[in-house]
Amino acid sequence: MFDLDTLYKKYLFYRFKKLLVVLILVCISVGVLYLFFSFQEDTKNSAPIQKEKVKNLKSRKKSQKEQEQVRSKEAKHYKIFTLSVKEKSRAYIEKMKQKYLKFGLQCQIEDQNNYLNLVCGETNSYKEYQKIKTLLKKNHIKYYVVIKKEIPISDKKEVQESTLQTPKRAKKVESLINKDSVQKKETNRTTLANIRHSDVDVELLEKKYSEHKSYEIAIRIAKEYYAQQRYEKSLLWAKEANHLNRKKEQSWILYARSLYVLGEKEKAIKILKLYKHFASSKKVERILQRWQSNDK
């Protein structure tokens, strides 16, 4: 009735066929996976080469930039500012001029919109500018440089670079402005403080503060003014910040430092001592120690 042998053979053949199909599928999958991983490995291996290429490219670009900078150094005008005070502090700026003369710096007082700026060098020579810079650094004098690119009058664009340099910090701002706007700036924003401020716009900060009063903004403004040596403004803003948060030491320190620089040393010491009564601060103690030892 049934041919069991033939049926069984057919059954085995069918199983074999299925097994073969499975094996082929497995082989294909393994092959695909192998290719995938080998491709990944290849990309990994080639990555450092690419990085190297990028690095080389970057260094080439860097050196090109440096060369350009060196080339452009000779074609710039450097104006070095050391101080900026209100007109009522003319005596102070005169005193500082005499003091800087002892260091070998020939400074001139420039009057700009109720502000007096002490200019300790104006030159087109990069070497000369470097000399003045070294001298200033040697005597720990803070200074600001206004660098103007020497461009023919026919060319309407002018590059202005201003840098703020302190022993710890050096910032650069580059801006492209046309000739008209330069003139406008000279009339409206002639004060050194306005020219020299770094990437932080104090006016913007003050506007921000008027919209939203916060300790952080006030102390930031005070710091900026202090850095610009506009100590009276710094004093006011430190006080403003202190009104908002009396616990934070920074406003106390900044207020006292501004007072100290403006000559009110005793008051400055008194304020820091007052702060020491209700809060312990190592920083305040250090400042007090330094000031007291200076007085002695």
Binding site: M1, F2, L4, L7, K10, Y11, Y14, K17
Partner: protein, 270 residues
């Protein structure tokens, strides 16, 4: 003959349980799909006007068995069932007239159609035609004319893959008709079907033996009534033959024997 659970088991008898029956209506297995189909059809007959109904489904899904069952069920309507549609339109119309115990008058098809429409328009009669995919073009046209006369309900059962051509013909697309589809058995329904068949023959105790391999049985049959029955029938016959021939290797139901039965039945193509 072997013993199982203390009772004697005859694989020959078991095979006969799953043999194609001549009149399977007596042991009709009402699965979920059938129950749904039945209620749908009765609802249409009660609530809608006389129209064409198409019962479609894969071969062996149980259309014919369902129609046999339905013919016995619909008591409020008369049913006339044609199992083989190999006839001419004139003979078909004459048969309908004769079934109503009326003498055939006239000779032309037009006269006969007029007579049959007049007779049946007052009655509720369902004309069931199985294997309708085999109908000739002239027969289809006659059925269309009769359906238009609103004298009959027509139920045309056909294979799903062959039904599309007929259903897409303009004369059917534009006329009111309903299409009902019979689906394959689900896994649990297939299990229920086998169990009910075994129970009917007092062989329920061998169910665990089949249940062990039911996944492969269902997979190979694809939930098709006819294929499942055929597969079980051949499997039991194979085991019986192996026992009689003394081939111990195939003397019990297992995956291997079932697959051999599937190869024998053409469910597996080697």
């Amino acid at each position: 003959m072997i013993e199982s659970n203390g009772e004697q088991m005859d694989y020959q008898v078991l095979a006969q349980i799953f043999e194609e029956e001549k009149n399977p209506v007596e042991h009709f297995y009402k699965n979920h799909n059938v129950v749904q189909m039945e209620s749908k059809m009765l609802q249409i007959l009660q609530n809608s006007h006389k129209q064409l109904l198409f019962l479609i489904g894969e071969a062996g899904v149980g259309k014919s068995v369902f129609l046999n069952y339905f013919a016995t069920l619909s008591s409020h309507v008369d049913t006339i069932k044609f199992d083989v549609p190999f006839f001419e339109p004139v003979d078909f119309v004459k048969t309908l007239i004769i079934k109503s115990d009326t003498v055939v008058q006239g000779h032309s098809l037009v006269e006969l159609i007029e007579q049959v429409s007049e007779i049946y328009s007052k009655k509720d009669t369902v004309v069931i035609i199985d294997e309708a995919q085999l109908l000739s073009h002239s027969m289809i046209e006659t059925i269309r004319i009769l359906a238009d006369s609103k004298a009959f309900w027509f139920v045309l059962a056909m294979h799903k893959h062959e039904s599309q051509k007929l259903l897409n013909e303009p004369q059917f697309v534009s006329r009111p008709h309903k299409v009902l589809e019979m689906e394959q058995l689900s896994f649990d329904e297939a299990k229920g079907f086998v169990q009910s068949n075994l129970k009917r023959s007092d062989y329920e105790y061998i169910w665990p033996l089949i249940e062990k391999n039911f996944k492969i049985l269902y997979k190979l049959s694809g939930g098709n009534f006819r294929d499942l029955k055929k597969l079980l029938h051949t499997t039991f016959l194979l085991v019986n033959f192996a026992l009689q021939s003394g081939v111990k290797k195939f003397s019990s139901i297992d995956r291997r024997v079932i697959m051999m039965a599937a190869i024998e039945n053409g469910l597996i193509h080697v």
